[in-house]
């Protein structure tokens, strides 16, 4: 990067400086265990080659950004993850957020829905609508998007194992609105692998789960071209306790698996890759996060080109959504969380995210109150309109520290990716419990550091307020919700054409047994008001149910 004599001079001067100065400063490492120097200078990034390692925005390897104009051309999407109670209640929250300036929708489903159970299943008792919206049938989906034109708004749905069902419902709602499938845009999370590693809302065993992921990709390539059929996620991996390097490595490894599996179905990488998207966490260590996002862009581009032979730029773009870290927010002195979220969001923007969710300050207590979610949204709006950082692309490029850290975190992540490759890929690695063990160890080590104050958390292990009485606007889910939902479900079951439901469920079962793409069959079942639970039960009969081998 620099003139070699110049670098030699710097190195000599630095050695002398280090001898004189840096005696008693304790060592510092970041979350990924990378030791951080007291300062960085040109000699730290001498190996960097601008053309090869950075290049311009919108040019391979896209380290500085996937688009030529980035936020100057179009701001990131402000997409607040929300959902609670019945579909009508969530619909109102969506309309509120859209009116307050959010630019994309994001659906949070309740636990029964996430795990493929209907609201009237005994196991759902007490959980209906409590931490997300309850969706049992197409009727609920219609109510969820009542008055929201699906050709004008994009929607992200955080759903994994039951993706075919919820996606099928969304497609049916679009049809009912008179919107054709090539007009709708959005994302389904649909990332089975990270369920086994971190989030644990799996249903079927790994192989059929991955098969369903690819079914959705294949279907979208043909029929829903503007849709992102998967959001390869690191957020949950990070929240479960991994380091930044592990988050990066395990996420990309998951992605590499999906790409290979899709190619195995004879789909051309340049046809499906442009619609793959990713999802990262924005945690506390400001620069480590920015470095992580930049490294992710570069690594993804290189993998797509070198490992999979992608030719189009769009196939190599690492398009990603970011959510600020929930686990980093505290129950104590919750207003402090507003500051935490602002800093985390800033790192995501400086990291070039395409879409952002900011957490609400009451994260450690409840689902977001209206006041709290508004502040979270305003945080993004203030960053975008008042801070000036959107004036130029990748403003921190060239920073000695950041470029060094970007390289370093790529190096650390590659160690994990190589290990996983040697195990035979992520499916084999997770069967051996490898990523799960790494995450559990990192989580335990972190907690010990917090307990012995090596890691300070303001308000929790330092600067505490013993007499604190937390006063925040409360947000409770009305217990009536469960009754209302059960009544609605009962009505639908009584009024639908039972014969048609059974006919389509049977066809679905046969299709699953003969390894066909199940999406069209799920769609037909959904249209005759088969319930989520009924469809998932049908698939369970074919694929079985996954039993977790616990790893501490």
């Amino acid at each position: 990067m620099f003139d070699s004599n110049f670098v030699k001079q710097i190195k000599t001067k630095k050695e002398k400086w280090q001898e004189d100065q840096s005696k008693n400063v304790p060592e510092r490492t970041n979350s990924s265990g990378i030791p951080i120097n007291l300062f960085y200078d040109p000699s730290n990034i001498d190996q960097l080659n601008y053309d090869k390692d950075l290049c311009f925005p919108g040019e391979y390897p896209f380290t500085r950004g996937i688009h030529n104009t980035m936020y100057r051309g179009r701001l990131w999407t402000m997409r607040q993850f929300s959902g609670f109670g019945t579909a009508e209640q969530t619909n109102q929250r969506y309309k509120y957020l859209l009116s307050e300036g959010e630019t994309g929708l994001s659906v949070a489903f309740d636990f029964p829905t996430l795990k493929g159970y209907d609201s009237d299943d005994p196991i759902s008792m007490g959980e209906v609508g409590v931490c997300g919206v309850a969706i049992d049938t197409l009727k609920d989906m219609e109510l969820l998007f009542e008055g929201i034109p699906l050709d004008k708004v994009t929607t992200s749905m955080t759903i994994n194992a039951p993706t075919p069902v919820l996606f099928g419902m969304y497609l049916a709602v679009a049809e009912n609105q008179g919107v054709s499938w090539d007009q709708i845009g959005g994302t389904v999370q649909n990332d089975a692998l990270k369920e086994f590693i971190a989030q644990k809302s799996f249903i079927f065993p790994p192989e059929p789960s991955v098969k369903l992921v690819i079914d959705v990709i294949e279907f979208c390539v043909k029929y829903v071209p503007r849709w992102n059929p998967v959001s390869i996620s690191g957020y949950h991996i990070r929240e479960a306790g991994s380091t930044a390097a592990q988050e990066l490595a395990f996420t990309l490894s998951d992605g590499l698996t999906y790409v290979s599996k899709t190619i195995e179905r004879d789909l051309d990488v340049d046809i499906f890759a442009p619609r793959l998207s990713l999802f990262f966490c924005a945690h506390n260590d400001f620069f480590e996060e920015i470095a992580k996002f930049r490294a992710a862009r570069r690594m993804w581009a290189r993998f797509m080109k070198e490992r999979f032979g992608a030719k189009k730029d769009r196939s190599m773009w690492m398009r990603f959504h970011t959510q600020t870290s929930g686990v980093a927010l505290t129950a104590q002195q919750p207003e402090n969380n507003i500051v935490r979220v602002a800093l985390q969001a800033l790192s995501a923007v400086l990291g070039g995210t395409q879409s952002l969710h900011t957490n609400s300050f009451d994260e450690a207590w409840q689902l977001p109150s209206e006041k709290a979610v508004t502040i979270a949204l305003r945080t993004q709006q203030i960053i975008s309109h008042e801070s000036g950082i959107t004036a130029t692309i990748d403003p921190l490029a060239g920073s000695y520290y950041l470029e060094w850290l970007t390289d370093k975190i790529e190096e650390e992540a590659m160690k994990y990716i190589d290990r996983i490759d040697n195990m035979g890929g992520m499916i084999e690695a997770l069967k051996k419990g490898y990523p799960q063990r790494e995450i559990a160890n990192s989580a335990y080590e972190f907690q010990k550091e917090v307990d012995n104050r090596k890691q300070v958390i303001v308000g929790v292990n330092q600067f505490m307020d013993e007499r604190e009485e937390v006063k925040i606007p409360r947000f409770r889910i009305d217990p009536e919700v469960e009754k209302v939902q059960l009544e609605r479900l009962k009505q639908i079951k009584e009024n639908r054409n039972q014969e048609k439901v059974l006919k389509h469920l049977n066809k679905l079962k046969k299709a699953a047994e003969s390894n066909e793409n199940v999406i069209p069959y799920v769609l037909n079942s959904v249209k005759v008001f088969a319930t989520l639970g009924e469809i998932i039960t049908t698939l369970k009969e074919v694929y079985g149910v996954f039993k977790e081998q616990i790893v501490f």
Partner: protein
């Protein structure tokens, strides 16, 4: 609740009595003896099966399936799953129960996790007594799952009637490295994860090793069997259960006196050792006599045998 009430409850198969008695024998050496005195005549009806094998071979998942199969055949099952205690903290993470999720809570199946608490043999000291309790409570089958490391194979032989060693592909070196004599301990070898292609190789390796051992049916009466199983794919489970029951039949048909006496003798010796540890040694350590004796040994005023005699005489007389 006093011991008699608990024991009465035990004979009726009451779960709370069973569980409280196991805790007592685990923790209270004095009460343990009282309990065993009361229940011992009622033992000897259950078929005690030891499940051993290296970590990672899938013992717990196999036990899970075995228990289900027996349940379907109308039997009641007690399971003792042993995990190691941490040498640093003395605590333990008992992780076998979670691997038996299918049977946790099923009626007629009782699962108890136990920590080794310093015992190096792959079983807890109290395991044998816990087996007796489950036996006396009327369980048809009692399965004991060892830690799988260390001297597990030898220990399990002392407490179980039928020993199943669980192996799986990918642990090929384990078979080669197996200590001499351990191959003779297992009555049945279960080659688990047999849905994997390499499993056939493991079976072949095993057969070769058994032939090498030169076991003579006429001498031992029972030739170790190999069964291919897969707990995830549900292969070979029924067969394994059948073979285990076959072994039970063999044991019953044998000249039982010699075998029973051999077992009883082992139990007596083990119990003697436990009593000495818990009474003589424990009490001695609590008294100043102990340190005095130690000093005398250092000064060569007495030898360790004399010191031991002094302790036994002083603390073993009731």
């Amino acid at each position: 609740m006093d011991v008699q009430t608990l024991v009465d409850g035990l004979f009726k198969g009451d779960i709370i009595s069973t569980t409280r008695l196991i805790s007592l024998i685990e923790n209270d050496f004095v009460k343990a003896q009282e309990i065993i005195r009361k229940i011992y005549p009622h033992t000897g009806n259950a078929h005690v099966i030891g499940i051993t094998g290296p970590p990672g071979s899938g013992k717990s998942s196999l036990v899970n399936k075995l228990a289900l199969t027996w349940r379907n055949r109308g039997k009641t099952i007690g399971i003792i799953a042993v995990d190691p205690s941490s040498p640093y903290s003395g605590g333990a993470l008992l992780g076998d129960r979670i691997r038996m999720r299918e049977i946790s809570g099923v009626e007629g199946i009782f699962i108890r996790s136990m920590a080794t608490r310093g015992s190096l043999g792959g079983l807890a000291r109290a395991t044998r007594d816990a087996i007796n309790i489950l036996d006396a409570s009327g369980k048809d089958v009692v399965i004991v799952e060892t830690v799988g490391a260390g001297q597990s194979e030898v220990e399990i032989m002392k407490v179980a009637q039928t020993i199943v060693m669980v192996l799986c592909p990918g642990l090929g070196d384990e078979i080669q490295a197996m200590k001499a004599g351990t191959m003779e301990i297992a009555d049945i070898f279960a080659v688990n994860k047999s849905d994997k292609p390499e499993a056939m190789e493991t079976v072949n390796d095993l057969e070769r090793m058994l032939n090498y051992e030169g076991l003579d049916e006429s001498k031992v009466g029972w030739m170790p069997l190999i069964v291919s199983t897969s707990s995830t794919a549900n292969i070979g489970i029924e067969e394994l259960v059948d073979k285990i029951e076959e072994h039970q039949g063999f044991l019953t048909s044998m000249t039982s006196e010699a075998l029973h006496e051999k077992r009883a003798a082992m139990e007596l010796v083990d119990t003697l050792i436990t009593k000495i540890e818990n009474e003589a040694i424990k009490k001695a350590k609590e008294s100043p006599v102990y340190n005095e004796l130690v000093k005398k040994i250092v000064e060569k005023k007495i030898d360790p045998y004399q010191a031991a005699d002094i302790i036994l005489r002083k603390y073993m007389t009731n």
